[in-house]
């Protein structure tokens, strides 16, 4: 039986932000709160516990910044979430997208790759599409 996400019907769902750019997360929360369904918005604090936070919350979507501070290996975080929380879908989020990053992260199990140069509408659409089971690469332009 198709889920609500697959049929596109609106429902509450959970998004976990993993990013050290706090002004960006604040603004994302403020913007996404205007959209139907984006009711459970969380952020990983501290960032070093991101994978554990995902395992505890089981978010529908994890928005994972590629360049994390504190020497955190984002590929390790991604692999841990993919392995321990397979029902969560990870979207990589970066201001410096490269072909190597796309192939590497999606090969490791990310469902999406979104540039920080895209509009809020494209980011929101990417989140919905990934929830429906599409793999999404949203770049500049």
């Amino acid at each position: 039986m198709p889920t609500n996400a697959e049929t596109g019907a609106h429902e509450r769902f959970c998004v976990l932000f993993v990013d050290d750019n706090e002004p960006l997360i604040d603004a994302l929360e403020s913007r996404l709160a205007l959209e139907t369904g984006f009711t459970d918005l969380y952020r990983a604090v501290p960032l070093t516990d991101a994978a554990h936070t995902a395992a505890r919350l089981h978010p529908d979507i994890v928005l994972l910044d590629v360049n994390l501070s504190d020497g955190i290996d984002v590929f390790e975080v991604l692999q841990t979430i993919v392995r321990d929380t397979p029902d969560s879908r990870v979207i990589m989020f970066t201001g410096h997208p490269t072909a190597e990053l796309v192939t590497r992260t999606m090969g490791l199990g990310a469902w999406g790759f979104v540039s920080k140069g895209v509009s809020a509408e494209r980011l929101i659409s990417a989140i919905h599409r990934v929830r429906r089971g599409e793999a999404v690469i949203e770049l500049d332009g």
């Binding site: 603004a27 913007r31 201001g95 997208p97 072909a99 140069g117 793999a135 332009g141």
Partner: protein, 387 residues
């Protein structure tokens, strides 16, 4: 006074002993400086590129939250018209900054790293580079463009076209120094199989002979000097790698003009391109998305059966599938000995009983290898057809 330069002669190096008599003043230090200069210049440009790419990255991190805040504020139904108008202007300014950041990244990024397609949609491309052109010209220079959205795609990567166009505009800016009304007008027109991008400027005509020098393929041996045509011949060679060309008009009623001719990416009468056809049979949507990105980067075409007619010249030349799809693909694909047999690239681990045919296997965790495998398959297919 310059300190003397010394050279260690090979005879002493062989013995591992250095005597004062064997250290002789070098007559090559000026050559050394000549040799170093281009390397230092390259290093300076590389540093500038890194800084610019970093700035673009930081700009985005600052602009995105600001745009999201403006979005959220604009959604409040109780706001006054005045506030809405103010927010709309703030949004326009932020959007311009965002386009500038995209343009900076396009210019500064390593083309091998950028996920750019092998083709350019000129109208969208212009939006990205226009802010850079304003930054590259003297304040007060008027820049306008006439580029129709309906133009076909040009067969050149966007970053390369940006590099060439910016270089031409910087050149034009030099020739416009002292001009009372500096202006640059960029137009794009299609002529049969080519799109011609013309950059007109209100500056003086270049030195006599420069248009000729620009067309000289051996001009790179001359030193790069202002308005000598040496840079232009290098740009021209870059374009020629993509079947394009660059010319300078000998005379223009405006002032000077450059013309960039680009090959149109062809669509056949059946709506398919004339490039290599690649069939994707990947059940994991993530792998399929990555494969589509790589096809776009290499200017290859995704093949799909139309009305079940997948035979003859319309058949795919390369198939990218996963291990689950391999058995089905193997049953319906001609053997390798057949000239028309497509090359097979399989994402996954080889099974114990793999089909008796040549297959390139790629691990799902090493999808980056797909790019090289496609290039190799393409070349191999072309070789077999030629023989």
């Amino acid at each position: 006074m310059q300190p003397p330069q010394y050279t260690l002669w090979p005879s002493t190096r062989d013995r591992g002993v250095v005597s004062a008599q064997e250290l002789r003043p070098s007559s090559h230090h000026s050559e050394r400086r000549t040799f170093d200069r281009p390397q230092l210049e390259q290093h300076r440009l590389a540093v500038l590129g890194s800084i610019t790419a970093g700035m673009a990255h930081h700009l985005r991190n600052a602009i995105m939250p600001a745009l999201l805040r403006v979005d959220a504020l604009s959604a409040n139904p109780h706001d006054s018209d005045r506030l809405r108008s103010d927010l709309s202007h703030v949004r326009a300014s932020l959007t311009s900054l965002q386009e500038l950041a995209t343009g900076l990244r396009l210019l500064a990024g390593d083309p091998r790293e950028l996920m750019e397609p092998a083709t350019t949609r000129l109208a969208a491309w212009w939006k990205d580079i226009e802010p850079l052109l304003h930054a590259a010209t003297t304040a007060g220079t008027s820049i306008c463009a006439d580029i129709a959205r309906t133009l076909p795609q040009a067969s050149v990567p966007p970053s390369l076209l940006a590099q060439i166009t910016i270089a031409l505009v910087v050149n034009a800016n030099q020739w416009m120094l002292g001009t009372p009304s500096p202006r640059i007008h960029v137009t794009a027109r299609q002529h049969d199989d080519t799109v011609c991008l013309t950059v007109r400027h209100a500056g003086a005509m270049p030195l006599h002979g420069v248009p000729h020098d620009t067309a000289d393929p051996l001009r790179f041996e001359s030193p790069i000097e202002v308005a000598s045509g040496t840079r232009l011949t290098a740009l021209r060679e870059l374009l020629r790698e993509h079947d394009g060309d660059l010319t300078m008009d000998e005379f223009s009623p405006w002032g000077g003009a450059f013309s960039i001719r680009l090959r149109v990416r062809h669509e056949t009468s059946r709506g398919r391109t004339s490039t290599v056809r690649v069939r994707l049979a990947l059940s994991d949507p993530r792998h399929a998305a990555v494969a589509r990105m790589v096809l776009s980067q290499q200017g290859l075409t995704e093949w799909s059966p139309r009305g079940g007619n997948d035979v003859g010249s319309e058949a795919p030349q390369v198939i990218v599938c996963d291990a689950q799809m391999l058995a089905a693909i193997d049953r319906t694909t001609p053997p390798r000995a057949d000239t028309d047999a497509p090359r097979l690239i399989v994402v996954g681990a080889p099974p114990r009983h793999a089909p008796q045919r040549e297959i390139t296997w790629i691990s799902p965790t090493a999808l980056g290898l797909l790019s090289g495998a496609l290039l190799h398959a393409h070349a191999d297919f072309a070789d077999r057809r030629a023989n």
